[in-house]
């Protein structure tokens, strides 16, 4: 009973963080802030949701599988975000302050 209510709280929190991540993905001004919003919330939402699900298992093989999924996601999803941001940087995409700085230089010169 207690486990179930804790699990419900964890699941709702996880869903909330996923939602904030999605909103951030839409509302943030440039590429890097968007990747940031998506990746950070993704990690915490994964942890919360998988632990929420683990509390609902009978602590058998399913629990182990969920833990393995968690480990896999914690490895891959930040790596994907990192690769995405790094490739964008490599391709010459500037952050917002840098864009403003270059604009100012253009005006003053």
């Amino acid at each position: 009973m207690i486990l179930e209510s804790i699990s419900t709280i964890l699941l709702i929190l996880g869903a909330f963080f996923s939602l904030t991540g999605a909103i951030g993905l839409f509302r943030f001004p440039d590429f890097f802030t968007r990747v940031h919003a998506a990746s950070v919330t993704d990690s915490i939402a994964t942890i919360l949701i998988i632990f929420g699900l683990i509390l609902r298992t009978d602590f058998d093989l399913v629990t182990v599988k969920l833990l393995l999924i968690l480990v896999f996601l914690l490895f891959t999803s930040p790596t994907a975000s990192h690769a995405l941001a790094k490739s964008a940087r490599h391709g010459g995409l500037l952050t917002l302050p840098e864009i403003r700085a270059t604009k100012k230089e253009d005006c003053s010169s």
């Binding site: 490895f75 790596t79 990192h82 690769a83 790094k86 490599h90």
Partner: protein, 325 residues
């Protein structure tokens, strides 16, 4: 509740499809195709068809996205502007769509137990397969044993697709002094890929041999194993990957898989049964079924792995050649 989830997923599916039609940026279209496949996989899970969902997620969202990206690397990412009139195609589409909707009027109600599909052979499979074949995963019993002919045909189709692509594009040459390519500056990516690739291969083996007991089987396992090698090729460069798994080996493997499958059929043929009748493979019919199913699933897995990977090699080899020139 499940109906609500179905409705939401179907709505998202329709929105994704519309977006795919109107977008001109082909890179985004490929990404949306991946999302489309994941949404269909979710719908299949909701319909309790986990095996199909697994296949859709691994083939539709995984491999085909990579293959389409490989094609985009060759063709460029912008759709050409279309100068044709749109009236006639629209007319054809509207008439076809109207005919299809008219056709659904005669369809039996969704999920009704009295539907012809539920009355024809399905009851026999459900009642007799535990005694006749004895596998916990009935989908594998139907796919590999009752419908062994169809699956042989599917494997042959995958094999034929690989032959088609290879005869058009050709496999990259295996070079002794390979040029360094790949993502050298991505240290994090390289380290994580080194961790992930062996685990993915292990998971592929699990899916291959656990297909008798849970969702999975040769098709999914072959695709997952191919995805592991594709990840390796993407991060460390195609020449490194062709060092590990050589194109000539892939050519042989693609044929060997089909041969294992058909050979199992002929083995049961010569032991006195029908083609692909596994009962005669062992003294006990149920044990014979198990041996036959493991063998043909292995054949499917080997062919799918070799076909998918050689198609990727063919595309990536072309892209690499285009880069050098």
């Amino acid at each position: 509740m499940t109906e609500l989830i179905d409705l939401v997923l179907l709505g998202m599916l329709a929105i994704t499809a519309l977006r795919i039609i109107f977008l001109k940026d082909l890179f985004a279209v490929v990404m949306l195709f991946g999302i489309y496949s994941f949404l269909s996989a979710l719908i299949f899970v909701n319909l309790d068809a986990v095996d199909v969902a697994f296949t859709e997620a691994s083939v539709g969202a995984g491999i085909s996205t990579v293959l389409m990206l490989g094609t985009l690397a060759l063709t460029g990412r912008k759709e050409k502007t279309n100068n044709h009139t749109t009236f006639l195609p629209l007319l054809v589409v509207v008439i076809t769509g109207a005919a299809l909707i008219y056709g659904t009027l005669d369809m039996p109600p969704f999920g009704d137990p009295d539907n012809p599909a539920q009355q024809h052979v399905a009851p026999r499979y459900i009642q007799d397969s535990p005694q006749e074949i004895g596998l916990p995963n009935m989908v594998t019993s139907v796919l590999a044993s009752y419908r062994g002919f169809d699956t042989l045909g599917e494997t042959a189709v995958v094999f034929a697709a690989a032959i088609g692509v290879l005869s058009l594009l050709g496999l990259p040459k295996h070079e002794k002094a390979a040029i360094e390519s790949g993502l050298k500056s991505h240290l994090v990516l390289r380290v994580v890929a080194k961790l992930i690739v062996p685990l993915t291969l292990l998971f592929a083996l699990y899916v291959q041999f656990h297909g008798d007991y849970g969702p999975g089987g040769g098709f999914q396992a072959g695709v997952i194993a191919a995805a592991a090698i594709i990840l390796y090729a993407l991060v460390f460069g195609l020449p490194m990957a062709t060092h590990v798994i050589q194109p000539t080996l892939l050519k042989a493997l693609a044929a060997i898989g089909v041969l294992i499958y058909a050979g199992t059929g002929f083995a049961s043929f010569f032991l006195g049964g029908n083609f692909l009748d596994y009962n005669v493979l062992a003294s006990d019919p149920v044990a014979g079924q198990h041996i036959g199913i493991i063998l043909i699933e292995l054949g499917v897995g080997v062919t799918v792995f070799a076909a998918m990977l050689s198609i990727f090699y063919a595309f990536a080899g072309q892209a690499e050649r285009a880069n050098i020139q």
